[in-house]
């Protein structure tokens, strides 16, 4: 399992690196697969609403109404039909990639189990919604789907008479069946929407919309595709003819050919077992739960920053319980806490300059605590001997910074870069523990803990509290957001940064040379 995940991760990171180059981190579609899934859902919803206005139920009214939309009103109805189809297919691709990605990057276990488990029924609902949609058109493909679906369902010991008998001959057909199908085709996506809402209930600052540029790009792509290759029907259904060959939508209908090969029993048993495995996979094998963040009421002033910044809604602000003058206190839900430490990085009391009392911030991780990190930082900095020395703050989920350690490079790895209070950077530079600081972590938009990298950047840029103080010379600070596969580029950039630091130091020690140079 670990090797498989590592292989998928490596492939994904390689592809994502190229996508980063082409789109930039903000528009990189691989970083917002879930949001793209939502976006396609809205396109399917809006186009479906339009189609519904013109849709007739019954035989052959259903087919004729779709034909009218496709041919007589091709400029809008036809485009809407094509958007409806292609956005549904794109949604399937996004969902599949989203699952693979979350699995490979281990983002489905621990506190994240809820989002994973609520995602499982969505798979079933997406397939059901898609299949019932194709059924409504009542062309030869719909006939194939109707017969193959009912034959598959008939394997289950649910129905008294085989429901496939409804499609034995035209005389067996009932137009009311289409009314039921329309109801299903609307009701199932509504249930899906509810579960999509539920899916994000434990996700703070959930991103349900892709970046505008990406949304425009992907919608334009669908629109152009709808004009170039419009969705069409495959001739009116005729039960006295065999629907073969049929042009299947393989994103939804792969199950039918597979049933012909392996039989309905294997399909149903496989689906059942697969669903159970998917539901249980967050606990296979059980994850070792990390110690959650803890609140120190003596140091918490109820500022709410930790609750706002937590990516998993694990912190709530409750009325003060200790009689202190503040209105609120932070409370951590251990079941939701991922121990990323982003809350520690947001705490205004988390400053290494504190010497009068022990370094205990308002909220802290138990392992590693902020005090441990300061000790480690000082211990590592003490080993630096050469000019142009740098202190690298990294994260456990990205580049392994420890392997860059040398006489001129000290490293401290945090659970997430977002755990680093900006005051630590000020501390390193003002106390001359190193000539410069490098902050590194997951690629932009790709933080393992979702928001650590983004919050860190905003803190460094002075647009999010706690901000990096003005007095910190920005030329002595470098940021490098990278995947574990970007080690070579990182090493090159560090080397260059160190040369810059040496130049800065030499100018600082020899002002005349500096003036002459100017």
């Amino acid at each position: 399992m670990h090797s498989l995940k590592a292989l998928i991760r490596y492939c994904l990171m390689w592809v994502e690196g190229w996508f980063d180059w082409a789109f930039g981190p903000k528009w990189n579609p691989t970083y917002c697969l879930g949001a793209l899934g939502y976006f396609y859902f809205w396109i399917v919803g809006v186009s479906g609403l339009y189609l519904y206005i013109f849709m007739d139920s019954g035989i052959p009214a259903s087919y004729l109404s779709v034909e009218y939309l496709t041919h007589d009103q091709w400029w809008l109805g036809g485009v809407m039909r094509s958007l409806h189809r292609y956005a549904s297919d794109a949604m399937v691709i996004m969902v599949a990639l989203h699952i693979i990605r979350e699995f490979a990057f281990d983002r489905y276990r621990g506190s994240r189990w809820f989002s994973w488990v609520t995602g499982v029924p969505m798979l079933w609902l997406i397939i059901i919604a898609g299949i019932t949609g194709y059924w409504l058109v009542w062309d030869m493909l719909a006939q194939y789907v109707a017969i193959a679906s009912t034959e598959l369902l008939d394997w289950l010991p649910i129905f008294g008479e085989p429901i496939a008998r409804n499609f034995l001959a035209t005389s067996h057909l009932d137009g009311r069946f289409f009314t039921l199908l329309i109801f299903l085709h609307i009701a199932v996506p509504l249930v899906l929407l509810f579960i999509m809402w539920l899916h994000l209930q434990r996700v703070g600052h959930a991103r349900i919309n892709p970046a505008r540029g990406l949304a425009v790009g992907t919608f334009a792509m669908l629109l152009v595709l709808s004009f170039i290759s419009p969705a069409t029907s495959q001739g009116i259904a005729d039960l006295s003819r065999v629907a073969s060959p049929v042009e299947l939508d393989w994103f939804y209908m792969w199950v039918y050919p597979l049933t012909d090969i392996v039989g309905p029993a294997t399909i149903w048993i496989g689906s059942f077992v697969g669903t159970i495995v998917l539901i249980l996979i967050p606990w296979i094998p059980p994850i070792k739960k990390k110690l959650p963040a803890v609140v120190s009421l003596d140091n918490c002033n109820g500022c709410t920053r930790c609750a706002v910044d937590c990516p998993f809604n694990a912190i709530i602000m409750a009325p003060r319980s200790d009689g202190a003058v503040f209105d609120f206190e932070a409370q951590v839900d251990p079941d939701l806490c991922t121990s990323c430490g982003i809350c520690v990085g947001s705490c205004p009391t988390a400053t290494p300059f504190r010497r009068a009392s022990a370094l205990v911030p308002g909220i802290d991780l138990q392992d590693p605590s902020l005090a441990t990190l300061r000790d480690e930082m000082e211990k590592q900095a003490a080993k630096l001997t050469t000019p142009g020395s740098v202190m690298i703050f990294g994260c456990d989920r990205s580049l392994k910074v420890a392997k860059f350690k040398s006489a001129s490079i000290a490293t401290v790895s945090l659970p997430c870069t977002g755990m680093l209070p900006p005051s630590f950077i000020d501390y390193v530079i003002s106390r001359k523990l190193a000539a410069g600081v490098v902050v590194t972590g997951c690629r932009r938009g790709e933080c393992h803990y979702r928001l650590g990298q983004a919050w860190m950047e905003e803190r460094l840029d002075g647009i999010r509290d706690p901000r990096l103080r003005e007095r910190v010379p920005r030329e002595r600070l470098a940021r490098f957001w990278a995947a574990p596969t970007d080690g070579r580029t990182f090493a090159r950039d560090i080397e260059q940064f160190q040369r810059t630091l040496i130049d800065l130091d030499s100018k600082a020690t020899d002002p005349e040379q500096s003036e002459a140079a100017q």
Partner: protein, 169 residues
């Protein structure tokens, strides 16, 4: 810088085009052939209850008195039904033969079948026989027809008791 942006835009367009191609192709291709070209399909499906396993008998006065007042039905019939035996021959070759048990918890429901049989198209002699009693020889229903199946035709055969029994649609 502009050169780089231009290349990036081209790369984005290429990725969008690739994605569009993926969507366009797999939303309808490759075509799937469930029934080989040149073949036809015979669909045999019915739901029919055979006779009860035994004959009904008229309860005697003593038997009726032994029952609770609300249970005193004068005729006593067994609930269970017999299997329905069916066979289908195409050009004297048996292509389907089954003894279909009754459905229901007490084996008192209809016997049900749904069969899809892929056969060569062309001129054939089709024979269908069905037994829904305890007879050991012959058939309760027998149908023999000369049929011409065109390639891609789906011939549906249902069963309704009475007359020839088998209904060709």
């Amino acid at each position: 810088m502009k050169m780089r942006q231009g290349i990036q835009l081209i790369a984005q367009a290429a990725i969008y085009t690739g994605f569009a191609f993926l969507l366009a192709y797999f939303s309808s291709q490759p075509p799937y052939e469930r029934v080989p070209a040149g073949s036809a399909l015979i669909k045999l499906s019915f739901a029919h209850g055979a006779e009860r396993v035994g004959a009904c008998h008229k309860r005697t006065y003593e038997e009726l008195m032994a029952l609770a007042p609300n249970m005193r039905a004068p005729i006593d019939c067994p609930r269970q039904r017999l299997d329905v035996k069916v066979h289908m021959k195409l050009d004297d070759q048996v292509i389907y033969q089954a003894s279909l048990p009754p459905t229901g918890l007490h084996n008192d429901g209809a016997s049900i079948t749904y069969q899809r049989l892929v056969v060569p198209s062309g001129y054939h002699t089709l024979e269908l026989g069905l037994i829904d009693t305890d007879r050991t020889k012959g058939y309760d229903y027998l149908s023999k027809r000369q049929i011409t199946l065109t390639p891609g035709q789906a011939l549906a055969i249902d069963f309704k008791p009475g007359g020839e029994g088998f209904v060709y649609e």
